[in-house]
């Protein structure tokens, strides 16, 4: 308690020196927190946009030749044979065309032909009306499901869109359903909520393409994605006998690459963080060393008055601990504030990570303690007369 008071007195009595010691730690801690938190915030936002893509999806594209073909029914059959691996299937037929309602033309709306499972594959839900159905596929019905923006823009609301007539490249379709709004932040042309889905069979008929060439197949378990890819490839090879005629690609592969990249990035980050902590540590060490050398005379006087070695050590170590801790806390505050500010400025949510706070605080306070302890220990061992003589 007494040594604690004495240490506080000494810190207050040497504001400049204490401040310089703290500065090193403040910069070290703040920069590590900023670095780690901002980069991990950035990685998180990247991860999020990737997971939106659907990691359970496998994209398949085939080039049908005159003699060897795989059509939608073949894929459904294949799926039925592997129920434990695969869940859903949809052909994806992009329709290049104009969407018209009355005299209005929508230019940014994406139009495509899909199966009734597309809603589930995307993980969307209906806002109004009904989803596309199997009978729509089988009967090549002229029905459409649209996105929230499209419905809102064309008809004023989801409910009002149901039953309305729209025209795609001159063909009339009836709106049977509207999907729930997806993008909470913005509702805009060409956005997530601006689309029209029609039955893939109908889309094929309009476009006069006999066979669908792109498919999305989902796996039941993301961990089976690779196995699923292999199964699909085996199946397609058995049909085409030529692996140039198809390609199979799991979205999760991209995630794997992402994870690998993040792993490397994290390691790099750790290195940079380590270096900045080291630099801060060297700064702290320097000041501690200088301050103890400067204070050898003080140590001599205290020893002459009967301070035991341990008492002197305690004083210096507490001094180092208090300065480092104060610096560490200021560093945490500064680093956190800066992290949030920078995050806001570059538009990603950055929260100071617990790990970064703990690591930087621990290391810099540790360095402060060690380099407070070592020179003080040496000085405390001096013969009092040698310490007194130093000037």
């Amino acid at each position: 308690m007494e040594s604690f008071k004495m240490a506080l007195r000494s810190i207050a009595g040497n504001k400049m020196r204490s401040f310089l010691t703290m500065l090193g730690i403040i910069i070290g801690v703040a920069s590590v927190i900023m670095l780690v938190s901002i980069v991990s915030g950035y990685m998180n936002s990247m991860m999020e946009s990737f997971s939106d893509m659907g990691v359970d999806q496998i994209n398949v594209s085939v080039t049908n030749t005159a003699s060897r073909t795989v059509d939608t029914d073949d894929f459904y059959e294949f799926l039925d044979e592997n129920p434990e691996t695969f869940a859903y299937l949809t052909p994806t037929a992009t329709v290049n065309g104009r969407l018209k309602y009355g005299n209005d033309t929508m230019s940014g709306t994406s139009i495509g032909g899909y199966s009734e499972d597309y809603l589930t594959i995307k993980g969307y839900e209906m806002e109004a009306g009904r989803n596309l159905s199997y009978s729509d596929m089988a009967g090549e019905k002229r029905v459409a499901v649209m996105g929230y923006y499209t419905a809102w823009y064309m008809f004023g609301s989801a409910e009002e869109a149901i039953g309305e007539k729209i025209r795609i490249n001159g063909n009339v379709f009836y709106v049977v359903g509207v999907v729930k709004r997806q993008d909470e932040d913005s509702l805009e042309e060409g956005g997530m909520d601006d689309f029209v889905w029609i039955p893939y069979s109908t889309a094929g008929k309009i476009a006069r393409t006999g066979f669908m060439s792109s498919y999305i197949i989902t796996v039941r378990d993301v961990n089976d994605a690779d196995a699923g890819v292999t199964k699909i490839e085996d199946y397609l090879y058995s049909v085409f006998k030529d692996d140039d005629l198809y390609s199979v690609y799991a979205n999760s592969e991209m995630l794997d690459q992402m994870n690998e990249m993040i792993g490397q990035l994290s390691m790099m980050l750790g290195g940079i963080a380590g270096i900045s902590l080291l630099v801060a540590g060297v700064g702290v060490m320097n000041i501690m060393l200088v301050s103890v050398t400067e204070r050898t005379r003080e140590i001599g006087i205290r020893k002459a008055l009967g301070a035991r070695r341990g008492v002197i050590m305690t004083q210096f170590v507490i001094e180092a601990a208090v300065t480092s801790t104060m610096g560490g806390i200021l560093g945490i505050i500064m680093g956190s504030v800066m992290t949030v500010l920078i995050g806001t400025a570059i538009g990603i949510t950055c929260t100071p990570t617990f790990g970064a706070v703990l690591l930087s605080f621990g290391v810099s306070v540790g360095i402060g303690l060690i380099f407070g302890y070592m020179p003080a220990n040496r000085a405390a061992r001096l013969n009092p007369i040698d310490a007194l003589r130093s000037e």
Binding site: A304, L305, G306, R308, I385
Partner: protein
């Protein structure tokens, strides 16, 4: 009388056990090829209540001797007993306790801690003795009052004159109620008037029963002690009363 030699010296301190006993004290510095005998076999007994002035030319070994007496330094050879305790077998901490409880230092350069107040400076020896807060402040204040600096208690050393600073260091030396007060050129940095004042305080301390060893190179100050020891080249050259020394 025969008991005395075997009695534990801690408990029964016979009047004729010297407070300080130096036996063949050597302090030898090796400077490259040269060896300097700063003290060259000094033997000396100092008893309670004495006022000893140690005189000698610059470089004769006075400070070296005092540092050994003050347990600030250890001799290269020889034995030093304080109150009958052999210091040569003591640990670092035991020596610290000796300095803390038995010795009060008055340095030529005062050696006050500049960042602490006058009062806190005087408190230091008590702090290291483990005296707790209210009592420590009260006792330190009493010592400051004795040297007439009670009003300046809150000031920093630098705000005081040299003579005042030396009085603070006297108060600090007295705070732990030591059995021995060591003063190395206590008036060395002061003008003659202030020197006299400081010397008067030291003399008064001796009159009150304190044992004092004072180093000086000034014969007019030395004669104010009761006993004078003159050192030449690390050896005791003269040891007698102040009157005898005055007649030399």
């Amino acid at each position: 009388m025969a008991d005395i030699s075997i009695a534990p010296q801690d408990d029964i301190r016979a009047k004729d056990t010297p407070l300080i006993r130096l036996k063949e004290i050597y302090k030898i510095y090796q400077m490259g090829d040269e060896t300097v005998h700063a003290t060259d076999g000094i033997s000396l007994d100092i008893y309670r209540g004495e006022f000893v002035a140690i005189v000698g030319k610059s470089g004769s070994g006075k400070s070296t001797l005092m540092n050994i007496i003050g347990a600030l330094d250890v001799p290269t050879k020889g034995n030093y007993y304080i109150d009958g305790h052999d210091t040569s077998s003591m640990t670092d901490n035991e020596l610290a306790d000796i300095r803390n409880r038995r010795i009060g230092f008055i340095f030529q350069q005062y050696n006050l801690l500049p960042k602490l107040s006058i009062l806190e400076n005087v408190e230091l020896p008590l702090l290291y003795q483990g005296v707790k807060e209210p009592e420590r402040k009260i006792r330190a204040m009493e010592e400051l009052e004795k040297v007439g600096l009670k009003e300046k208690a809150k000031m920093r050393p630098i705000q005081l004159s040299g003579g005042q600073q030396q009085r603070v260091s006297i108060a600090r030396a007295l705070a732990s109620r030591p059995s021995l007060i060591l003063a190395d050129e206590p008036t060395g940095a002061l003008d003659s008037k202030t020197s006299r004042e400081v010397l008067d305080i030291i003399k008064k301390l001796n009159d009150e029963g304190n044992t004092i060893v004072m180093i000086t190179h000034d014969p007019t100050i030395a004669v104010r002690a009761r006993r004078v020891v003159r050192i030449i080249d690390g050896k005791v050259d003269f040891d007698g009363s102040a009157e005898e020394y005055g007649k030399l």
